[in-house]
Amino acid sequence: MLSVHGVWARRGALCLWAEAPARLPLTGGDADAVREALSGAVPRLAHALVARARGTVELVLPTGEAPPSAAFGAHRLPAVVLNPDRALDVLLEVGRTDTSSLPWPVTVGDDLRWLAAVATAARDRAAAGLLVPGLAQADGEWWGRWHPLVDRAWRRWSEAAAAAAPPSALAEVELQPARGAGGAGGQRGRPALEVVEHLVDEVTALVGQHRATRPAGAPPVPPPAAEQGTTASGESLAGVVAAWGEALRTGEPVSAGVPARELTDLAVRLERWRGSGTTQPAELLLRVAEPRPGHDPADDPAGDDGAESSDGTPSGWSLQVRLRSLDDPSTVTTAAEARRGVSGAWGQDWDGDLDPWAFALAELGRAAAVHPPLLAELGAGVDDDAELTAQQVVDLVTDGVPALLEAGVAVALPGRWLRPQVGLSLRTRSTALGATTDVPAPVDGPGTLAQADLVAVDWKVVLGDVELDEAELAVLAEQRAPLVQLRGQWVQVDQAALARSLRFLQRTAHQDASLSSLVGVLGQVASGSLPAPLVDLDGDGPLGALLRGEAETFVAPVPPPRGLRAVLRPYQERGVAWLSFLDAHGLGGVLADDMGLGKTIQLLTLLLAERERAAAQGAGAAPVAATLLVCPMSVVGNWEREAARFAPGLRVLVHHGPDRLKGEALLAACTGGGAPDLVLTTYPLVARDAADLAAVGWRRVALDEAQHVKNLGTRAARAVRQVAGPPHPAGGTQRLALTGTPVENRLSELHAVLDFANPGLLGTPTRFRERFSVPIEKHADERATALLTSLSRPFVLRRTKTDPDVAPDLPAKLELVVRANLTTEQAALYKAVVDEMLAKIREAEAAKNGEQRRGLVLATLTRLKQVCNHPAQLLADGSSFLRRGQHRSGKLALVDDVLDTVVADGEKALLFTQYRELGAMLVPHLRERYGVEVPFLHGGVPRASRDAMVEQFSGGGAAQEGGPPVMLLSLRAGGTGLNLVAANHVVHVDRWWNPAVEAQATDRAFRIGQTRQVQVRKLVCVGTVEERVDELMARKAALAASVVGSGEGWLTELSTADLHDLLRLGSEAVGD
């Protein structure tokens, strides 16, 4: 019979010893017998028992005599001494073997089995990755070393395992001869927990090292990122960390180059880190307790007299300091209770490093670091619940709790705690009263409003998402307490905002107002003079739709006027209805449809409709006053022509030129019978003639390309306001703005345009900047954006080409002839050319020199087209493109306007001209204006460069992304063959009067691969040969196909008189 025992010796080794008379290691016949019997079941143990690892172990053992006498004797016994790595093999084998039923002749003692169980648990834990790397010095070098991850569960288990230790496992003692075995106090063993921790530490170090430095064949541990000297966060780490990581990975000592001081420092920090795990069984809990049900806030003086805030009066609220068990978060006690062991698992079982009360105090200190008022609120200490005033509760919840939670301090608030925002909601209702009929049919359907209608404007106070009725609001405001109970919930309210809101409501709650004063109401919102933020804006019927920005689809459609010579697209009809609706209610608006969607025709239709409506009323109705349209000089002619084409019934007066009407004459011409329906003028002239124009009582003042007044400081911007008169007079002047780009660069542009249409709507420029521009442009403030949207959307109608409501109505290709006016410089040149050339032609005619005459006619045409393009092109004198920042060419000013919109929309345009010298003039101008090099493809460009230009313009294949926004092409070189579908705008700057050639050029963009609508603009100058030939060709389509189709040659066959009519300068040519 062999009884084998084991102890884990202080020197860090497993000592196996046997009960007498056997001695380990076995030798001779015993060894053979053990080998034979055990090598099958426990081969490592069998091998160890006969190993040559001889040593001794010093133990105290019972003498076997009866207790309680001094029954211990010290022994130095022969033993097998195994180093940790070999010991672990043996212990793990014992751990997984049922050693109680080994074949004779061996029994294994409880002590060895206990060590095996501890070692197995430690191995399993380390193998699961629950270990922590460290740094240790041994044999004069530094090594990476793995330590167990000690959390509370493991520490508890270690203690339990220690408690289960058989005393014999603790019997290894340092023999102290002086003392003699068995003192008066009895024999004490080695602390069991020390043995457990010692063994676990050794096992963990072994397993960690073994796994981190796996032998070949096993998946290699990836080299730590430290080898690159950086971490995921991109920081570079000190070389010492990298060297340590390498040592962990290789199992080699830390390389000698690392300074010892840094290593010592790192080792200290690692040890502190390893010990930093949560070892407390509980956490501090700050509990804000609401008044007990019996506590009635109305008992508080503050609740009754309401004269003072509730500061300093008991509110019934309290702040409690508690400890909450981490194992069972439902266990919450005071520190004192935890100390006394009141709450079950704690008390003497409290296993924190600190006494529970001391722990609570230390944690309070940590909490006070992030919320200093805490200690003052708690008073002397942690033991008593502190009474809080309502204001203290609010401050704690408002300021303290977020900081405390951020710092990891648990805070418990009463179940439902709301901190709703005080807001205002605005509802408008149409009232049945005053349903007059002075605005007839188009908007007089069911559920619509007339201008004189009164609307009820209802303000309500909203708390969070609860709309308060007046009684509730009065009660809440009266309490003047920051904490109130509202519909069963504790609600923290901004009493000041509530009181302001109540006063505001008492003043303005239910106003019956005319609809146009709604703008004033909304202006209050924009300027921030409301007592609380506007959170909801709505109403019933069409008005509600307007406020929701849905008016376009909601208002009654306007039947197409009989005088309209065009068929409106559905979205255009909706636009006219919207304009009409605003007009009927004295409101201004901004029609901000994309370029090419037909803003002009919508306005013309509106004018026609209101005149036909007035006519339908019979002779008694007052005539409709004129509409003043202000536009850039370059498009006056276009307006004039479009009006003549689509609404020939409208009388149009163009207010421009040196012969324009002034003073009384203007007033007389614009009022009374026979007055025009539409007066066209330009921004410079409206500034110059502001006083005269203001004297006229306009039906409407409309601004085309309204972005021209985006700078409020300009004379034109002031003048248009002056001419439009005071906002919203009864039956007064409607203000409209038309623009394709309501916001080109800055939000202030929207303010300028919208403020013209509805003065005061968005507040003063300064307030607008504070409340909207800066928050939205600088900080992308979502709330400011939302508010601006809800304020502006009733008054801005913007449809884009890609809107699902619009796109189906659009043709794939939109061809427009756009008319530009000449500048006075151009007009003078033009006139001179005509006079000179006609004289020469007459001479040639007189000389019967037909050949010379033909040549002169063609030369004349060329020179006139050059004048229309740009004076410098005719003069070829290298003079500047602009003069004092102003365009010298009305046509090229229009090109700029078109391209501005194209660029603002992120689209691209092709510019065709037949003149290379014009392209050469445009290239530097466009480069300066758009900050990119604009390619110019003409006959002189080699093939390879052309391909590069096309590639560059197409943005490397991805349309719209990259590449210049504009490409210039000569009609001859660029008119065929190229694929330029990156562009969806085509501008023919000058004309060749050959539809086939122009169509072919257009097809560079309008071809397979084009996914967007293509807009084609053919530019002609008003009152010049360009316009007349264009009209001629349009009128005589058949002729164009046969005769005209061949180009310009047919012109030479015209009689001189006809030629004169064709070439002469019309009085309408000059815009300014």
Binding site: V60, L61, P62, T63, F72, L92, D111, A117, V118, R123, D124, A128, G129, L149, D151, A153, E159, A160, A165, P166, P167, G186, Q187, G189, R190, P191, A192, L193, V203, L206, V207, R211, A212, V221, P222, T231, A232, S233, V241, R249, L270, R272, W273, R274, R339, L354, D355, W357, A358, L361, A362, L364, G365, A367, A368, A369, L375, G379, G381, D383
Partner: protein, 315 residues
């Protein structure tokens, strides 16, 4: 800095070894602790300024100015406040890189309080524990110093006699610029952790907490009349809580029970909650300012250790 005076043999000969300002500007750059304060005065709290004031009263403006520069430029390569309860208690030891290759060793010394004194402090705090919580939370209330003075204790230095300085540099004047640099940095540490002042006096945080807790429990009648524990017991209690080993080992039974153990309970589960790592429970800040980066570095190593089923047979 003024240009060096013209070098004349006479002046060189007359140079004294304690004239540390000569020759100027030859210090070796170091990348040590950098002061947060980059201009103006040091010590943003009244208690931090008390340490600064003790030194500033005792030495000249030029040394102080250079000390501030040293503190701001990282010349102080290490600074340790001696742990209470060790032989280093009451001492601040620091290494300051000067003009010689080896850094100078600077030692600041304050008088530590004896156990009786510390017990007096605990007595005082037991009646107003909020003061202790405030200090632990980073605020030293003036009432705390008064409370100390009432107990006869000097917490903050009133002059250089309460804060002695020593340095291995050749400057015979104390405090030298190296010591000044250390004091400036110490003041910054005090600004954020006023308990450092108590630690310097030999007071250990957890021991003090336990002492106050014991007294509080007694005076508050929370426990049944146990006498106020002395510091040794409190320290023992702290140590005992910290290391569960009975420091007085168990008596061994002399009978058959000597050989018998009980079954070892099953170990706690090794599975961590999904998405957490073994190192998450540790405070990376203990590793230093870039502790998070170090932990991030270790994470893949740990993950690689844990997966793979081991190598069958052994571990």
């Amino acid at each position: 800095m003024a240009p060096p005076p013209p070098s004349s043999p006479d002046r060189r000969a007359g140079r004294t070894p304690w004239d540390a300002s000569w020759p100027p500007g030859t210090r070796i750059r170091a990348d040590g602790i950098r002061a947060r304060s980059q201009r103006g005065a040091f010590g943003s709290t009244w208690w931090g300024r008390r340490f600064v004031a003790a030194v500033e009263e005792a030495t000249g403006a030029s040394r102080l100015s250079r000390g501030r520069t040293y503190a701001r430029q990282g010349q102080v390569v290490s600074l340790d406040v001696g742990a209470a309860g060790t032989r280093l208690a009451g001492r601040v030891t620091a290494a300051v890189q000067g003009s010689r290759p080896a850094p100078y060793e600077v030692v600041l010394t304050v008088a530590t309080w004896d156990a009786e004194t510390r017990a007096d402090l605990a007595d005082a705090l037991a009646s107003d524990p909020g003061q202790l919580a405030a200090v632990l939370g980073g605020q030293l209330p003036e009432a705390f110093e008064e409370l100390c003075l009432d107990a006869g204790l000097v917490l903050l230095p009133r002059s250089l006699s309460d804060l002695r300085t020593g340095c291995t540099c050749p400057d015979l004047v104390e405090p030298c610029k190296h010591a000044a640099a250390v004091v400036y940095l110490l003041a910054e540490r005090l600004d954020t952790d006023p308990f450092t002042a108590l630690q310097l006096r030999g007071v250990e945080r957890d021991v003090l907490l336990s002492l106050v807790a014991e007294r509080r429990a007694t005076s508050g009648g929370l426990e049944d009349g146990a006498p106020g524990a002395d510091e040794e017991a409190a320290a023992g209690a702290v140590a005992g809580r910290r290391r569960r080993d009975p420091s007085t080992p168990r008596l061994l039974p002399a009978d058959a029970a000597f050989w018998r153990g009980r079954p070892v309970p099953p170990p706690p589960p090794t599975a961590l909650p999904t998405g957490t790592g073994a190192l998450d429970g540790l405070d990376a800040a203990a590793l230093g300012p870039r502790g998070d980066a170090v932990v991030a570095l270790l994470r893949p190593l740990l993950a690689a250790l844990a997966d793979g089923a081991g190598d069958g047979e052994s571990y």
